[in-house]
Symmetry: C2
Subunit: 81 residues, 2 copies
């Protein structure tokens, strides 16, 4: 069976996010005074072939851990879509 | 009131995604044969100050449209978290 997952990777709260900071400042400069904070992150949409949802979950967790995120500065979450 | 939104920006389906393709190939090379396709995207977590949710929605839609996404090659979606 084919499962589709959405993976969200964001910086840990204690880690600086220069991209997010720059976009926050840019948005305020062009008039979006209501925007108080922007944090940036990465998104992956993954198609995985698996006999069942449980094994698909395990595979996605493994690939997030081994390939997609940097555990020093990032955290991840995922959900089936 | 303070609202927090999650914004997802992905390439349109017809647009090539070299980052996603590279990660797909890398994942298969290191043994994740079950991974059939990975598409990459961007994620933003935005804090917005607004008198009500309706106006916050309008602001977020506007900033996505004007600053965060490239309408030629990308699409966006958002939800309050």
């Amino acid at each position: 069976m084919n499962f589709i997952y959405e993976i969200k990777i964001t910086y840990k709260d204690s880690v600086n996010d220069p991209e997010g900071l720059t976009i926050t400042e840019s948005s305020q400069r062009i008039g979006f005074k209501e925007i108080k904070k922007i944090r940036s992150g990465k998104l992956f949409i993954i198609n995985v072939e698996s006999p069942n949802e449980n094994e698909a979950n395990i595979k996605i967790d493994e690939i997030c851990d081994k390939l997609l995120h940097n555990p020093i500065i990032e955290k991840y979450s995922f959900n089936k879509i």
